[in-house]
Symmetry: C2
Subunit: 258 residues, 2 copies
């Protein structure tokens, strides 16, 4: 996807886009002609004509009570059409590649499936000692950084439900198996924005993971960087930085507004 356009543009169309964006970014539901004109630095007459042109197709409505304008339901149609087509795996692919190259570690993408977590993609570095994960294989939602980064950002009642119904069986010697310790760890993950694991899911494996959040702030995926645990002592701060920046970018792309 490229957003650099090189061809001819139409000023009236560009102004239309700016008018719609003004409504998207406004604190108030309604905007007046004069207000929009001042914000965008174009004449009232032009703004009025643009708004008028957007009324019949339903992008804009006029409130005669306040004599101001607001977004109409077609705005929502178009927005939801965008959502229907978002495929997080496709969006994440180039990001995984970039992360793996930058760190020379394995980058993974996981999603939640019911009360489990599944790896759905990975990019491994061109190096001999590295981690690889089994795509499609399911792991418990409490063990490892990818799991924790998903679990931590679920709505509280879903976390509670999960912790209530799940017996925290050790996956490795280092897995957190005590509920109140896990709750503390989840609070830490939320506060930091990313999760760290050193041998909790896979003995000898270190990893850093952060969630990809959707427009509802719901964690729809988790991205991680992982490798042999020795390498992760030195790299973990840098990896954390990269992974949070990458997931933040992806989150925005799928509509997250936090």
């Amino acid at each position: 996807m490229t957003d650099q356009s090189t061809g001819t543009t139409i000023t009236a169309v560009e102004r239309t886009a700016e008018v719609l964006r003004a409504f998207a970014h406004a604190d108030t539901q309604t905007l007046g002609v004069t207000e929009v004109a001042q914000t965008l630095g174009i004449s009232k007459a032009v703004v009025h004509r643009i708004l008028n042109s957007l009324r019949a197709p339903g992008f804009i409505e006029f409130d005669p009570g306040s004599r101001r304008y607001l977004l109409g339901p077609t705005a929502l149609d178009v927005g939801l059409a965008f959502l229907r087509h978002v495929d997080v795996r496709e969006l994440a692919r180039p990001v995984l590649k970039e992360l793996s190259e930058q760190t020379q570690e394995t980058a993974t993408l996981s999603i939640r499936s019911e009360w489990h977590r599944i790896y759905i993609d990975q990019v491994t570095p061109a190096r001999e000692v590295k981690m690889t994960v089994a795509l499609g294989r399911s792991f418990p939602l409490y063990a490892g950084s990818s799991s924790k980064s998903l679990l931590a950002f679920l709505p509280q009642h879903e976390i509670d439900e999960y912790l209530e119904q799940t017996e925290l069986r050790a996956v490795t010697d280092l897995t957190i198996t005590d509920v109140s310790s896990l709750r503390s760890e989840l609070a830490e993950v939320r506060s930091r924005g990313y999760a760290v694991s050193k041998g909790e899911r896979q003995a000898g494996a270190g990893s850093v993971a952060a969630p990809v959040l959707d427009h509802n702030g719901y964690p729809v995926a988790s991205m991680s960087l992982c490798g042999p645990v020795e390498r992760f002592s030195e790299e973990s701060d840098h990896a954390a930085e990269l992974i949070t920046a990458a997931t933040r970018r992806l989150s925005r792309q799928i509509g997250y507004q936090g």
Copy 2:
């Protein structure tokens, strides 16, 4: 709100709106210039310029792989801005009036508040023997058609959680107080699309209710028609028809796509 515009319009702006709508209504994520031009009956050169103009502000993106265009994240921004300001009570008001006039019964609007249901609006007919409800008063989420129509359409795990923690105390002699009977009733409500109550919440009161679903398919409100139970024996099929049509319309207005 009025969508009949009477002032001057700009052709380029109108075409922009049509281009965006073409993407919203397309079955495929991507559309080509030629395709859009044919659908809308305008020249390829114009379509190309419109799409190009919408790229920098993020409404449209170009996929160099397929050489086709798709909606960009600004489309979602604008759509979500519409959602931020939707007031279901305001949207529902004219519909409540219409329903009450058509049936000569009381039309109500309820929302869920935690594990309760609250009446937030009503329109009563000009007739002496009629129901009125206490706005703002809270009722259990299992008793009465409005409650059942909200509960039935919650995600399964929320239903389970509610039924697990709630003691089904009788509100009237006819209230369902047995969990498995209520589960059957909820399945019936989901299958039918509406709920019926005869004396379950209020002795002597009959009602038909259906949920208003948002863009996630989540029940954000419930609309009902209610009156003395004798009148509801004869009217209930007709009322069900009206209430489901009305809630379907409202649901679509707030982004429901089922």
